[in-house]
């Protein structure tokens, strides 16, 4: 039913279409829509639309669901030892409202701290493996959030707003930078079992096109929805696809660019069906590598998280722009959210992630990937220096620790301080938008320029806030 009788002008090319789009995107986004692979040459990247020379190309976000405690991990506060058991109102002073409002006494760290590495930064015994990588870590001890409940704080950490429906950091990054691998999504979520509170909206594309939403991969076959053919044989599937293509070819001439893209996407989806399972297939990794990550670990959650971390490396190798890992589910421990039973809960969580994360850092480094891969380790907030009940800690958004590694940040470096209780950030206080601005900057993107017009405004990951923290840069 071709109507291509010459009466019509030739269809627009994709490029023409975009260039005419009056309500269009910035130059950065343009490159992603073309889906062109990024050159290695940084000057070339800038020429192609990045705002400045990037320090990182990829991001691996190790999301610590439920909020690990800063004062039991990376933020050493001897005052807590000294005043253990005292009423926080007497020694700390004003205590902010907390989620459960069931605040007990000042509680000392539950694990001893040691100075580690050449940098001599303090890390508690909760993370012996990660502690061993401390000289690669850029520890930020002064992040704050604006929200004390998980859902809002999760959205805030992921999207820069406390509400549903906004694009996730990974969506912004893949929208801005595109993917280096046309056969894999630019933003992949490796679901270790725990979908963060607030649900899949943490990974959404919001008002960005749906293609930028996080594709949730699980450690199973198929790793992603609708990837597995339902035809008995590949031959049959291909025969059918041949017919589909013939039908499309017949009518495409009269249609516009949209139709053309749909045809191209069909081919792309065929490739994805092959590439995605290959990416998730760890069988060809060396025994040494598998052991390093802990694929053979007796604690099943460690083995699971090890698979996730190793898969993340493979994705970065294949050019996936932004990989986020969610934590494994551990029975008896509700994420890192230890309102009670802190000792066991935090220990189990740490056991699951400590070795795999350290292995990821070492493996990336050894393969030369860490230079351009930014690893971010963060929860949605921290925990209180005083107990909830007798053996837990409540939520604390006023000052908590996250760390980064690789991707152009300083290793063995600590930035910012909380007060002597580890309660509130007092030096180098960072807001969530500052963290986002800094990450975008490392990727060669000016957070103020990566905008999309929506609802009458130019929307940004950083809303109207955010300052780049250059002190973190190597």
């Amino acid at each position: 039913m071709s109507h291509s009788c010459g009466r019509y002008a030739r269809p627009l090319t994709r490029r023409e279409m975009l260039q005419r789009c009056a309500n269009g995107f910035g130059a950065v986004a343009l490159s992603s829509l073309f889906g062109e692979a990024f050159a290695q040459d940084k000057a070339d990247l800038v020429r192609r639309g990045l705002h400045h020379a990037p320090r990182a190309r990829n991001v691996i976000f190790l999301y610590m669901d439920g909020a690990p405690s800063q004062i039991d991990t990376f933020d050493y506060k001897p005052m807590l030892e000294k005043h253990h058991g005292k009423d926080p109102k007497d020694v700390i002073g004003r205590v902010e409202k907390t989620q459960f409002d069931n605040n007990g006494k000042v509680m000392r760290p539950l694990w001893p701290f040691k100075r580690r590495g050449e940098s001599g930064l303090w890390v508690s015994d909760l993370f012996p493996h990660i502690g061993g990588c401390i000289d690669d870590l850029c520890v930020v001890r002064s992040l704050t959030s604006n929200f004390s409940e998980h859902t809002s704080a999760n959205y805030f950490l992921h999207t820069g707003t406390p509400m549903q429906g906004r694009p996730s950091m990974g969506a912004w990054v893949s929208y801005g930078l595109g993917s280096d691998n046309q056969n894999l999504p630019g933003f992949i979520v490796l679901n270790g079992g725990l979908i963060p509170v607030g649900g899949l909206d943490n990974f959404n594309s919001g008002f960005l096109p749906a293609s930028y939403q996080g594709s949730v991969f699980r450690p199973a076959d198929p790793p992603v929805a609708n990837l597995k053919r339902l035809e008995k044989t590949q031959e049959l599937q291909q025969r059918k696809a041949g017919f589909v293509k013939a039908l499309d070819a017949k009518v495409r001439a009269g249609y516009d660019e949209q139709f053309e893209s749909a045809v191209r996407n069909y081919e792309l989806s065929e490739n994805m069906e092959a590439v995605a399972p290959e990416t998730m297939d760890l069988s060809k990794e060396s025994e040494e590598t598998k052991k390093l990550y802990g694929l053979d670990h007796p604690f099943p959650q460690t083995a699971l998280y090890a698979r996730q971390c190793l898969s993340a490396r493979r994705m970065v190798e294949r050019g996936v722009r932004f990989v986020e890992l969610t934590c494994p589910q551990i029975s008896g421990a509700d994420r890192w959210d230890q309102h009670s039973g802190m000792k066991k809960g935090h220990e189990d969580n740490a056991r699951a992630v400590d070795q795999p994360i350290a292995a990821l850092l070492k493996d990336l480094k050894q393969r030369g990937l860490l230079d351009h891969t930014l690893v971010l380790w963060a929860g949605e907030f921290g925990r209180t220096p005083f107990a909830q009940g007798s053996d837990g800690r409540d939520h604390n958004p006023y000052g908590f620790t996250v760390w980064m590694a690789g991707g152009g940040v300083k290793g063995g470096f600590a930035y910012g301080e909380t007060d002597e209780w580890g309660y509130k950030a007092v030096q180098g206080k960072l807001e969530m938008h500052d963290l986002h601005a800094t990450i975008l900057h490392l990727l060669g993107v000016d957070h103020k320029k990566l905008t999309v017009r929506f609802g009458g405004r130019d929307m940004r990951l950083t809303d109207v806030h955010g300052e780049v923290v250059r002190e973190l840069f190597a």
Partner: protein, 1089 residues
């Protein structure tokens, strides 16, 4: 928080006169102070700041004295009063500047010293000038932007090509094209046109027989009749209802951590479908959305009498709700902002919620406007409305009122008359009951009554609440002086009962108190009023000695219809139609106390927070079973206000009865439990005790107050207390007269005319008026003055009479020309894929301008002429030449208008997410045309996990159209999402149209698609037809066109190959299934040109 507290603090500091020039001081300033200001403060607090924080500039003395949004930063001479000094000292945990790190101690000391010295600053040398930002000028902005202007009713312009226009609208379009030297594209061929119209109007592919008929006779008449048929079809209503649901962020759950159910939201969805099906005029539709609960004559469903209009108001509450916010006030503002955002975008095409923190950056919308609109919501609250029965309940309540007016006085007189034989001889009864013989003797007393009195007298001696108590004590020879002292003490205690409490609502006195209710259960009664029961043996329950909000027990029987969903929260009771609420008030104390009688439930809505789940806020919910009068305490220490003058939290209380005599007398707030102000002695008895304490004096006094209790009860509390006592003791005063039993029987008959069961739906309830505060920078901790509620100032403001008045202003195009403009632009958008104003939700300055302003106004005016009929408007557009153009630009169009803003030709489009799914169901034959009803749970794939995961639904959604699939915020259909089904978080008038591999993966591998192919194949194979004919039929069904010969040949080859691969016969259903599946994967299937 940081900034806001600074602002608050600033607010209390008065500015003092600027000091005189002081050379040493100036030197100190230049050396020690200016460098610090420049280095550490100017990046946020100067004219050169990229972004000024808190409105505070520190680059001149004048601006430092003027200070931030609320007041000065420094008070010369008074470091202790200067927020700037406080901030840099870092002592105040919430006010630490600079935020990124404390200044060195020396600099802090310098700054303190400098302020102490009187803040010397060189004259006329402000450190930085910089261009002054233009002040917000609403009138100027309004005048400068087209969208605010009145509608222009221009005559259709002249055109050269007179044969092209079919509708007046075509002339506007053509004139623009001609002026640009363009010719409109030729009309689309009949099959293409029909497929286009079918998808646009019904969201489904056209039935093949309809296409063939039209292809054979593509006449104007045939087209008219087809269009009319489709406009009248249920599918039109379903398709266009879904467009509307995108605007109101329709969902059936509340998102966030547990994705709690939003009960019965689907009734709203059905309302929209019905409204569009019935072609409810748009102004009426809008009015129902804004104020459907307030219409004096709501639209009723003709058969059942259910209230349609009130259902529309549910949209206000379709957004996200948090279940355990730490800061309820912040959460409220987020929620209200979303409501105003959706309101503004949907009806007005304006981004009003941008003005939450500041005057709008671009449009004629002030920050005050935002808070003026917020007042409408502050004056209302969420409820589940009994929409089936609410009108019948109201009618019954009016009937009850009439019955009361007609009969109650006489009935009470009859009750009084029935008691008179005893009352008139009460002294004799008492004396006989106390006398040694205890018999009726010659006093002509009723022996049965006397026996009762004898028994009662015995009890009364031990009951200080009994009016006969003093007499009983006296005849027993008790100590009357001691009793008098005790009674006096009781009186004194009652007088002091409330001395440490703040009385919020006092229903006991006759003065007006603001309250409202959901339903008709409650009645405000004053002292001396009768309280009726339902038991014919005790029809008159009580006489109220003090006024109260009393729940009428006649309405106790109200129930929910089976399967009605209820809110998940700590509230265990159903309050629909049985709830009374107070006005909104500010919390200033730690606890709230309600003086109630009877068992009941109370819920305190703090900052409109209702989703009470989880650890916090449980104290806002309380139930009690005790029957007597008592204070019910609720601890609210979670909601403190640092400053009682500027309370952070505002609340109201909602009461629901749990026993037939439930009433609310008084609500107070206090820091300690109040006493009972109504635990009082009987004053006339106490008088006797204090003056002549003797049994004879007491019987005389008793005789006197009992004798005329019924006559005086309306004006005398003591009389009312006695009358109440009389009706509560029928054994002492004789049986109730038949008039009273008849009266409650008549009442019961009226109430029973209302069905006890009703379904419920989310709706708004108008409460007593309350205004919202203007919040500086949108910060809840920084309230300024209250802003009276009203419509946008740019539309004349005014109003303030409530939502009904607001709706009236909005639906008057002379007041609000944007309403019809936005509405017709949406219709155009759905029919052309792009609005005349492409940014359909934003007609402000940041939106895109239209190339066809005259056309837009023509349509807006025409919409009014058509009575706001969506169907008629759609009809005019669909039958226009503009709509019928074919796709593909002319060479010149490509050259001068490649984006096709002038609309020279049609732009092909992928069909919507719902249409992709529905088209498969329609083609396969699986489509269940059933309309309305509870949502079908969506099918969850293995990747959809998380808290609140609902039950899995059938893969094929039971064959229902997509609009009937459940919309759970955290568990949206992944198939629909991939095809750009919108996230329901704000008004989405224009869906994104993405084109991604995930869509292809779905078409290739999703079980739903395969299942539908199999279903279709089964149906096809069952029709015993030649292979070629069958293939042709498939093409006609899926693509709206016959199969070409080469396509038939290719399909046959495919069938053959598949049969070989599967080792099946070519005619086998499994073979045909594979062909069917390829057709679903063809791009032509999901594109419309």
């Amino acid at each position: 928080m940081r900034t806001s507290l600074l602002l608050i603090l600033c607010g209390f500091v008065g500015a003092e006169a600027a000091p005189q020039e002081d050379p040493a001081g100036v030197e100190f300033f230049e050396k020690k102070i200016r460098p610090v200001l420049v280095d550490r403060c100017f990046s946020c607090h100067s004219s050169t700041a990229a972004k000024l924080k808190g409105g505070l500039k520190l680059d001149s003395l004048e601006s430092a004295l003027k200070g931030g949004d609320t007041g000065p930063a420094i008070v010369p001479g008074h470091p202790e009063k200067s927020p700037l000094v406080d901030a840099v000292s870092y002592k105040n945990i919430d006010l630490r500047m600079p935020p990124k790190g404390k200044l060195p101690a020396e600099q802090i000391a310098d700054l303190t010293e400098w302020v102490k010295r009187g803040a010397p600053w060189p004259k006329d040398k402000s450190t930085a000038g910089g261009p002054k930002k233009e002040d917000f000028n609403l009138a100027k902005r309004k005048a400068e932007h087209w969208a605010w202007a009145p509608l222009r009713a221009d005559a259709p312009p002249a055109v050269k090509n007179e044969s092209w226009p079919k509708q007046p609208l075509d002339r506007f379009l053509l004139a623009k094209l001609e002026a640009n030297g363009l010719e409109p594209a030729p009309p689309a061929d009949p099959r293409t046109l029909l497929r286009r119209i079918a998808f646009d109007l019904t969201g489904l592919p056209p039935p093949p027989e309809v296409v063939e008929k039209f292809a054979a006779d593509p006449s104007e008449a045939a087209l008219n009749s087809l269009v009319d048929g489709w406009l009248a079809s249920p599918q039109f209503a379903e398709t266009w209802a879904r467009h509307w649901l995108d605007l109101v962020r329709y969902a059936e759950s509340r998102g966030h951590e547990y994705d709690y159910l939003l009960p019965n939201a689907w009734h709203y969805r059905d309302y929209v479908i019905r409204a569009i099906d019935q072609d409810l005029p748009y102004p009426k539709f809008l009015t129902e959305h804004v104020a459907g609960d307030l219409l004096p004559e709501p639209r009723l469903e003709p058969k059942s009498g259910a209230n349609e209009s009130v259902l529309a108001t549910g949209w206000w509450y379709l957004g996200e709700w948090l279940h355990s916010p730490v800061d309820t006030r912040v959460e409220e503002l987020d929620r209200v902002s979303n409501q105003i955002e959706v309101f503004g975008k949907t009806f007005l095409g304006l981004t009003i919620s941008c003005a939450r923190c500041h005057d709008h950056k671009f449009d004629a919308i002030s920050q005050k406007d935002f808070y003026a609109l917020a007042g409408f919501l502050k004056s209302s609250n969420y409820r589940q409305v009994r929409f089936d029965t609410i009108e019948k309940e109201r009618q019954a309540a009016r009937d009850l009122e009439r019955l009361r007016d007609e009969r109650e006085r006489a009935v009470i007189q009859a009750v009084a008359a029935a008691a008179r034989p005893v009352v008139s001889k009460l002294a004799a009864y008492l004396e006989a009951a106390a006398g040694p013989e205890k018999d009726a003797g010659g006093r002509q007393l009723d022996p049965e009554r006397l026996a009762a009195w004898i028994a009662h007298l015995r009890k009364a001696a031990d009951d200080p609440q009994d009016p006969i108590h003093a007499y009983a004590v006296a005849v027993r020879g008790g100590n009357l002086a001691a009793l008098a002292a005790k009674e006096r003490a009781r009186q004194a205690a009652a007088a002091k009962a409330l001395e440490n409490a703040e009385v919020l609502f006092d229903f006991t006195k006759p003065e007006p108190v603001e309250w409202t209710q959901d339903g008709v259960t409650f009645r405000r009664l004053v002292a001396g009023d009768a309280g009726w029961g339902t038991d014919p043996r005790r029809p008159l329950q009580e006489i109220l000695p003090w006024g109260a909000l009393r729940a009428d027990p006649a309405w106790q029987s109200l129930r929910l219809a089976p399967k009605t969903q209820t809110d998940s929260s700590h509230r265990s009771w159903v309050d629909s139609g049985r709830m009374a609420r107070t006005a909104t008030f500010a919390l200033r104390r730690t606890s709230l106390y309600s003086l109630v009688r009877g068992a009941g439930h109370a819920f305190i809505e703090v900052d409109s927070h209702r989703q009470v789940n989880g650890p916090l806020h449980a104290s806002t919910v309380i139930s009690w079973k005790e029957e007597g009068r008592r204070w019910v305490a609720q601890n609210l220490r979670h909601y403190p206000s640092p400053d009682p003058e500027r309370p952070l939290h505002r609340l109201h209380v909602e009461y629901t009865p749990a026993s037939p005599d439930f009433q609310v007398l008084m609500v107070v707030q206090a820091d300690a439990p109040p006493g009972d102000p109504f635990d009082l002695p009987y004053r006339p008895i106490l008088d006797v005790l204090e003056t002549s304490p003797a049994p004879r004096a007491l019987t005389e006094a008793i005789q006197k107050i009992f004798g005329d209790a019924f006559e005086r009860m309306a004006t005398d509390t003591e009389a009312a207390r006695i009358a109440d006592w009389i009706v509560r003791h029928p054994e002492l005063f004789g049986p109730v007269p038949p008039e009273a039993s008849d009266y409650v029987a008549a009442r019961a008959k009226i109430v029973s005319s209302v069905p006890a069961e009703s379904r419920t739906s989310p709706a708004i309830l108008a409460g007593p008026a309350a205004d919202e505060y203007l919040l500086i920078r949108g910060n809840t901790a920084a309230p300024k003055e209250a802003v009276p509620k009203r419509f946008l100032e740019a539309f004349g403001g005014g109003g303030g009479g409530g939502r009904l008045e607001l709706a009236r202003q909005m639906t008057d195009p002379r007041v609000t020309p944007l309403v019809p403009r936005v509405a017709v632009n949406r219709i155009w958008h759905h029919l052309f894929g792009r609005g005349l104003v492409p940014t359909v939700d934003d007609f402000g300055r940041m939106g895109l301008r239209t190339a066809h302003a005259e056309l837009l106004d023509h349509l807006a005016v025409r919409f009014g002429e058509l009575g706001g009929s969506t169907k008629k408007m759609v009809r005019e557009i669909v039958l226009s030449s503009a709509y019928r153009m074919s796709d593909g630009p002319s060479a010149r169009a490509l050259e001068i208008d490649a984006a096709n803003t002038l609309l020279q030709h049609r732009t092909p489009r992928r069909i919507s997410a719902e249409a992709v799914r529905d088209a498969m169901l329609a083609v396969s034959g699986r489509l269940d045309p059933a309309m309305y009803g509870p949502p079908v749970p969506i099918h969850l794939d293995g990747f959809q996990d998380g808290r609140g995961r609902p039950a899995d639904g059938p893969v094929d959604g039971a064959g229902r159209r997509s609009i009937y699939l459940s919309v759970r915020r955290n568990f949206l259909s992944s198939m629909l999402l991939a095809f750009d089904f919108p996230q329901p978080f704000t008004a989405i008038g224009r869906r994104s149209m993405s084109n991604v591999p995930a869509q292809s993966l779905i078409l290739r591998n999703n079980p739903f698609v395969h299942d539908q192919a199999a279903f279709w194949a089964k149906r096809l194979v069952a029709e015993n037809r030649p292979v070629e004919e069958r293939i042709d039929a498939m093409f006609r069904a899926a693509f709206g066109r016959p199969a070409a010969a080469d396509e038939v040949a290719a399909a046959k080859q495919l069938l053959q190959d598949v049969a070989t691969m599967k080792a099946l016969e070519a005619g086998h259903v499994d073979v045909w299934k594979e062909l069917a599946h390829t057709i679903f994967q063809a791009k032509e299937f999901i594109f419309v040109r």
